[in-house]
């Protein structure tokens, strides 16, 4: 309805303040009496803190306080929790080591905080931190998976012998074994899924403020889910009770998952504000972001595919080692298990799947959800295997995929997921047409005649989004429900406020959520305000991640809207002396169908608040809330095809074309969807070609700045050609599926499939840097 309703590419409301530098981020907040925190961090990957001498530092100019790990333990501040319990195949629970917010005794990764200096200025805090003498006894470190699981490896936590956190399986092992025995062909592949650093544009920051008279705390923080932060801080960390703690996540400059978690620095800022009796601000710098923001991915996998004589897939067997770093971050346990192995069926009808996932501790930064979280890793495994199978069997990779596509819905996979709808063939057709797949052999031949190596690579991804049905995730070990809540307030003058538990940190909710209101009521989006990110304002919420905010958050708003509309119709019918069932809403007016009688929304709203003439027994006011719990995940899916050339002399890759055909269900704002896909593709291509966190064997992060960690720049990327095919999601009334992670999930396999096609050699790990590609070609 109208130019600002669902399906309209409305310009983003929030961009005016962002592009004019008027956003209000945590670091922009000034509070009277503010002090500044600087953390003292371990330079060692594994060591014992023998002593911390603060005597020279504590009287330095501006120093307000110096707090150590021991003090945080003495104050009984809770250890960091992991919110998803995973059970090993032998029935035992996960082996979790303690993670205090600052280390009182043992440090297990470079950058782990051991103390914090609080001073009048950041510079004074840094000066004093240099005068604090920390004595360490260094231990040997296990800096990667292989080092952590080998005999005699350094032990990180006494709770986890052999550094193994859990050894978890999914699927039917015996049936899968039988499928492999009976297979006509078996394809096997070893895969490294490289470790990534999220690198949100805004580093993490926190301000803790304690009001002694009220015994009340406020935390301003860079969070994707302020209510979850409040819940965890109060229920587990003993810093403040829930009703005495307000968490505000103002403008947040990107998250990509890394701002879901409640980190030590946020805890310390809050705790320290009471200790020193002054508000405490910490703003991380880029080095701290590299060292302490939860990293993503980091898997070692062996995957095998069984096929029958007709090239139908009969089985998939996967064994993955997942690196969770030195401590278990908030959702770390679920990422390589329920967010990964449940997607191993991909877009294919695979009757037998068995996966084993062994998660291990290493002396590295903790690893957790990063854009896609488990699903990029699954998609990469499946799509690399399919491509490898096609080459091994000498069949066209598109045809092999098509032959094995799931075409009947709903479809129950052997790994929990029940796909509700999709049309994988349509996406593949669309992508193949867009890239002129049929013309590729001729283009490749022409390139060859010019001395160029040209390749094409497909990736048909599926993801589970709209996270998640609470009962289902609860039965799998999640510590929280994953519904969303909303409140719709129609003010007495007819403007509308939407309070949502979703949080926007780049997604554009302030626009798209308004578009739903515009669609239903026919009012301009300028009359609608989205309120989010403040636990004192919004009733509750589970936040934004897992491409859930449209499918779950917006549906909650829709449910609340329906209640508001029903009440408003009653008021309108009463005022117009018509039957409620005859009232329709159009262009901001309540009309009696078939007549010229109408009443404008502001009049209805005013009537609701003056309450002079409401139907008998009706409560005043026009404000309704709703909680929405989805019945299933949603399943965005699509096909990506990448065509590129490799310079054999340098190993450098140049894109020729990159096409995407996504099925996100209904699009609320196609322009914003396009932006989300662009960003996701940039990160997926970044993983494939450029990004990779590297540690040396002693556990030092070699890529701790942008001089060494290659973030994709605009000129590293091709101009994307985006297409959409649409099957409406039957699981929610809007028919939406989610689009936030797709690009990051599907892109990397397409790129690696294309490079390996170009060079005719499958031995290539991500990131496929020119150096690695050159070595793959020349040995």
């Amino acid at each position: 309805m109208g130019v600002e309703g669902i399906g309209a590419s409305v310009v983003r409301k929030e961009d005016r303040r962002f592009i004019t530098g008027k956003g209000r981020y945590v670091d922009d907040i000034k509070i009277v009496g503010l002090t500044h925190a600087h953390f003292i961090r371990s330079p060692h990957a594994h060591a014992k803190v023998k002593s911390i001498d603060t005597s020279a530092a504590k009287d330095m100019p501006g120093v307000v306080g110096i707090l150590t790990g021991q003090q945080i333990v003495d104050d009984k501040v809770g250890n960091l929790i992991c919110g998803w319990a995973i059970t090993s195949k032998d029935g035992t629970g996960m082996k979790m080591g303690a993670w205090p917010a600052m280390a009182p005794e043992i440090v297990r990764f470079v950058g782990q905080a051991v103390a914090v200096v609080i001073a009048e200025t950041k510079n004074q805090a840094k000066d004093a931190a240099e005068a604090v003498v920390v004595n360490y006894e260094e231990f040997p470190a296990a800096a990667d998976i292989r080092a952590a699981i080998k005999q005699g490896a350094p032990q990180l936590h006494p709770e986890a012998p052999g550094n193994v956190i859990y050894d978890w399986t999914i699927g039917d092992e015996a049936a899968t074994e039988a499928a492999f025995k009976a297979a006509a062909n078996v394809v096997s592949l070893d895969i490294t899924n490289n470790r990534l650093v999220p690198n949100a544009m805004e580093p993490r920051a926190a301000i803790g403020e304690y009001n002694e008279a009220e015994e009340h705390f406020t935390l301003y923080t860079t969070s994707q889910n302020p209510h979850v932060a409040r819940l965890v801080l109060s229920a587990f960390y003993n810093i403040a009770p829930e009703h005495k703690l307000r968490v505000v996540a103002p403008d947040v400059g990107g998250g990509f998952g890394s701002k879901i978690f409640i980190y030590p620095e946020e805890m310390v800022a809050l705790w320290a504000s009471k200790k020193v009796g002054r508000p405490v601000k910490w703003t991380g710098d880029r080095t701290e972001a590299f060292l302490t923001d939860a990293h993503g991915r980091d898997h070692l996998t062996n995957a095998e595919l069984a096929l029958d004589a007709n090239n139908k897939i009969t089985g998939l067997r996967v064994k993955t080692y997942a690196n969770l770093g030195a401590y278990m971050s908030l959702f770390s346990s679920s990422v390589p298990t329920y967010l990964y192995a449940t997607l191993l069926s991909g877009q294919y009808n695979i009757p037998n799947i068995f996966a084993e996932v062994i998660s291990v501790y290493t002396n590295t930064t903790p690893v957790d959800a990063y854009r896609g979280a488990g699903r990029p890793e699954a998609s990469f495994v499946v799509e690399r295997l399919l491509e490898t199978a096609a080459r091994q069997l000498k069949v066209d990779p598109a045809e092999l995929r098509r032959k094995n596509f799931i075409t009947q819905f709903p479809h129950q996979t052997p790994v929990i997921m029940a796909y509700d709808i999709g049309d994988f063939g349509a996406s593949l057709d669309s992508a193949m047409k867009a890239i002129d797949y049929a013309g590729f052999p001729a283009r490749k031949a022409k390139a060859k005649s010019e001395g160029k190596l040209r390749g094409i690579g497909l990736s048909c991804y599926i993801e589970a989004c709209g996270i998640a049905p609470s009962k289902a995730v609860g039965s799998l070990g999640a510590g929280v429900g994953l519904w969303e809540s909303a409140e719709v307030r129609v003010n007495p003058v007819g403007t509308i406020e939407i309070l949502t538990g979703s949080h926007s940190h780049g997604q554009g909710h302030e626009t798209t959520f308004c578009q739903l209101v515009a669609e239903r009521l026919g009012v301009p989006i300028s009359q609608v305000q989205i309120v989010h990110g403040d636990t004192d304002k919004v009733q509750f919420g589970m936040g934004t991640y897992g491409s859930r905010s449209a499918a779950v958050g917006l549906t909650a708003i829709l449910k609340a809207m329906e209640k508001v509309e029903a009440k408003a119709k009653k008021i309108a019918a009463h005022a117009l002396e018509a039957s409620e069932s005859d009232i329709v809403i159009e262009n901001g007016e309540f009309k009696v169908t078939g007549t010229d009688k109408s009443i404008a929304l502001p009049i209805v709203a005013l009537a609701a608040y003056t309450a002079h003439n409401l139907p008998d027994g009706m409560e005043p006011g026009l404000k309704e809330g709703a909680f929405y719990d989805p019945t299933n995940f949603t399943f965005p899916a699509g096909a990506y095809i990448c065509e590129l050339e490799v310079d054999a002399a340098t190993g450098k890759t140049s894109f020729i074309n990159f096409v995407a055909a996504d099925d996100f269900g209904r699009l609320i704002n196609p322009m914003i969807v396009e932006g989300q896909v662009h960003g996701g593709l940039a990160q997926g291509i970044g993983q494939a070609l450029l990004e990779g966190a590297a540690y040396d064997s002693s556990g030092q992060l070699l890529t701790a700045s942008f001089m060494d960690y290659a973030m994709p720049r605009a000129d590293d990327l091709p101009s994307f050609k985006l297409n959409h095919t649409t099957t409406l999601c039957p699981g929610n009334p809007l028919g939406v599926k989610g689009c936030g992670e797709a690009g990051a999930i599907g892109a990397s396999a397409a790129v690696i499939n294309a490079i390996t096609d170009a060079i005719g050699n499958n031995k290539l790990e991500m990131p496929a840097t020119p150096d690695r590609v050159w070595h793959a070609i020349h040995g």
Binding site: L690, G692, L702, M707, D708, T769, P770, D771, H775
Partner: protein, 266 residues
């Protein structure tokens, strides 16, 4: 950053005098190397003496067989200069692939060579072209100026005032960009002098910083063409090796970039 005293002298003599007065003075040009290390508290000069506004240090002159670029001239001005494009276009090209626009607007030729980063672009140009570095005290040939990683012949307080390049018969530069920093993963500058000599310098490759590449020079002297290098093998001994490139890869790049530089030089 630690506290420091900022000075803005208007002549080289004044800068030198100020330098002597500070307990631990540093000259500042574009600041694209010095300021980041100060922000990281890795450098703590007592006094920062800005050379960027000294008029006698800015400008480009082409006279017959010599192109002279004054020390505090920015990459951007070098890239745009008609004199540079006409006399040694390879230098204009080099600056166009150096860093990004922000770096090119601030960074200077003097700062670059004083810093002598082993992956910086300009040292290759100076060595290959046989340039002369002029300071407030003396003239130093490029071969004598660069002394390994981040080390030069400059004495404490000595100011580079200008660099003079003999205009060559032919010159070309090609660079494989470092994927993250965009410095030279390896860059090669090739020069054929008017006297017929060939000088080739590689940056980003050797553990000792910018280096001449004799095997390539010999081959090109015999036959100035990319094909002349087809059978040349550059040894990987002494080459840098890190996560972005093995020693063997860098040795390969020295040859491939040299071939492309020759092609670019014409």
């Amino acid at each position: 950053m630690y506290e420091t005293i900022y000075h803005r002298p208007s002549s080289v003599d004044e800068a030198v005098a100020l330098f002597g007065k500070g307990s631990d003075s540093k000259y500042l040009a574009g600041g694209h190397t010095l300021i980041p290390v100060m922000k990281q508290r890795l450098a703590a000069p007592s006094d920062v003496i800005d050379l960027g506004k000294i008029k006698e240090l800015i400008g480009i002159e082409a006279s017959g067989d010599t192109l002279t670029i004054k020390a505090a001239t920015t990459y951007f001005d070098i890239m745009q200069s008609a004199d540079v494009k006409k006399s040694i276009p390879a230098i204009a090209y080099l600056t166009s692939v150096l860093g990004d626009p922000a770096v090119r607007y601030r960074g200077t030729i003097g700062g670059s060579i004083a810093n002598n980063d082993p992956a910086a672009d300009f040292p290759a140009a100076l060595v290959s072209l046989g340039a002369t570095v002029k300071t407030n005290k003396r003239s130093i040939t490029a071969d004598d100026f660069f002394k390994g990683l981040f080390t030069t012949a400059l004495e404490d307080g000595e100011i580079i005032t200008q660099v003079s390049f003999p205009v060559p018969a032919k010159a070309g530069y090609e660079k494989m960009r470092h994927p993250a920093s965009r410095f030279a993963l390896t860059g090669v500058f090739v020069t054929k002098t008017k006297a017929g000599d060939v000088r080739v310098a590689a940056t980003g490759a050797s553990q000792n910083g910018v280096m001449r590449v004799p095997v390539i020079e010999t081959a090109l002297k015999a036959n100035w063409s990319a094909a002349a290098l087809d059978s040349v093998k550059v040894s990987d001994s002494g080459m840098l090796a890190d996560i972005h490139g093995s020693a063997a890869y860098r040795a390969n790049l020295v040859k491939v970039m040299a071939q492309r530089a020759v092609t670019a030089a014409g």
